[in-house]
């Protein structure tokens, strides 16, 4: 869904892990799921501290 976020003009975009659990993973162990959530959140913090001049997907 990041393409929709880009289309409507969201400035700082981070891809989540699926529509049903953007910050989780039902298939993973609790530890792995936590690591994944942490990774996505750290990416969001990187996005917040980066200057952008157009919709940008942070990978």
């Amino acid at each position: 869904m990041t393409s929709v976020a880009e289309m409507v003009g969201s400035h700082r975009i981070v891809q989540g892990n699926g529509i049903v659990h953007p910050l989780g993973s039902a298939e993973s162990s609790p530890e792995e799921e936590h690591r994944l959530r942490r990774k996505i959140m750290e990416r969001a913090l990187d996005a917040l501290t980066t200057e952008v001049d157009q919709p940008t997907v942070f990978k």
Binding site: M1, A5, M7, V8, G9, S10, H11, R12, G16, I19, V20, H21, P22, L23, G24, A26, E33, H34, R37, R38, I40, M41, E42, A44, L45, L48, T49, T50, E51, V52, D53, Q54, P55
Partner: protein, 345 residues
């Protein structure tokens, strides 16, 4: 004799500027402000019966009371046509004009027209119910706009059907009307495609909403001293959904206090657009409070705002989403929040 009543704010009504924005509704039979241009446009048999004037702040702070008081004055003037504004890009004025038009047409049964700029919040709120003419931002076009308002007002009074919004210059009201086309849809689509390929103008039959995003906010310089808030449009609500956030096209948002964890038993999901069971099993899969607290403890972020803000984004019209976004931004700014992580399903 067609009696016209005009509504103006304190500025156009020549009472004063922002310092007089608190004045309550008043009524005059003198011709003031845009009324002068208006009387020059009247046809024989038309007259400006009265002008009702109210301060922008008085109206914005107590819209129902102000509207009722204005309506009292308007009723006494026995109008045949009610014109409000034009408000151009003045937000409080635009909302007041549109609210009064709505009240006048529904409670007095009198045709009402206002006019304002695209981005005036009055358009967002009232375009479906009120005839709002599209204007530019500059009041220099006053005479021309008043002329257009008057023409539409006359049509409404005569019971003539209005043309399409783009022909008459008012904001589309979201009405669907069946009409016969001279060619089937496939031919029309092909004509459009050919025109597009040839670089010629063409008129779409299904305009997509324009998003007009604001400019990107600057990067957060010092995250270690910033206050960060968690926001979601995935519909996470406390069990029982105390504020009644709708499962689709939510009309409101709510903010709920958070501690260290989101216990599954304490939360539910009010969102009809995705399979909610994974988030119900563990709400952190939508609102990452656990990790956010970790990052706060480690000093990566200065402070986590002590509530999360939630609404339901599903099938929400752009205008409504924009209104909710503004509301959420105002709420968080008031709380001193510097940055937001918004999680979306």
């Amino acid at each position: 004799m067609a009696r016209i009543v005009l509504y103006l704010n304190q500025f156009f009504g020549q009472i004063g500027g922002e310092d007089m924005a608190g004045v309550g509704p008043r009524f005059t039979t003198e011709v003031v402000g845009p009324g002068r241009a208006l009387i020059g446009l009247l046809e024989p048999g038309e007259g400006l019966a009265a002008t009702v004037i109210c301060g922008d702040n008085y109206f914005a702070e107590q819209p129902e009371k102000a509207a009722a008081e204005c309506l009292g004055h308007i009723r006494l003037a026995q109008p045949d046509i009610f014109l409000a504004g034009p408000a151009f890009n003045a937000g409080r004025y635009g909302v007041a004009c549109a609210a009064l038009c709505k009240a006048v047409q529904s409670q007095l049964g009198i045709p009402a027209v206002t006019a304002m700029y695209d981005e005036n919040p009055g358009v967002d709120v009232y375009h479906r119910e009120v005839i709002i003419l599209r204007t530019g931002q500059s009041a220099a076009a006053m005479r021309d706009v008043l002329d257009r308002m008057l023409r539409l007002g006359r049509k409404l009074r005569a019971g003539e059907p209005l043309g399409k919004p783009q022909m008459e210059g008012y904001f589309p009201q979201g009405r669907l009307e069946a009409e016969l086309a001279d060619k089937p849809a496939a031919s029309r689509a092909l004509d459009m495609l050919l025109a597009k390929l040839a670089g010629q103008p063409f008129q779409t039959e299904l305009a997509l909403p324009a998003f007009n995003p604001p400019p990107p906010p600057p990067a957060v310089r010092d995250l270690a001293h910033a206050k960060v808030a968690l926001v979601t449009d995935g519909g996470l609500v406390p069990t029982g959904n105390p504020d009644g956030i709708e499962v689709s096209a939510a009309s409101k948002f709510a903010a709920y206090r958070i501690e260290d964890r989101l216990e599954p038993a304490d939360y539910d999901v009010s969102h009809g657009g995705y399979d909610n069971r994974y988030v119900k099993q563990d709400p952190h899969r939508l609102v990452p409070l656990d990790v956010a607290r970790e990052l706060e403890r480690e000093g990566r972020i200065g402070q986590l705002h002590d509530e999360f803000v939630t609404t339901t984004g599903l099938a929400n019209p752009v205008n409504n989403s924009r209104r909710l976004g503004r509301g959420i931004a105002d709420h968080l700014k008031e709380a001193g929040v510097d940055a937001v992580i918004l999680t979306s399903t």
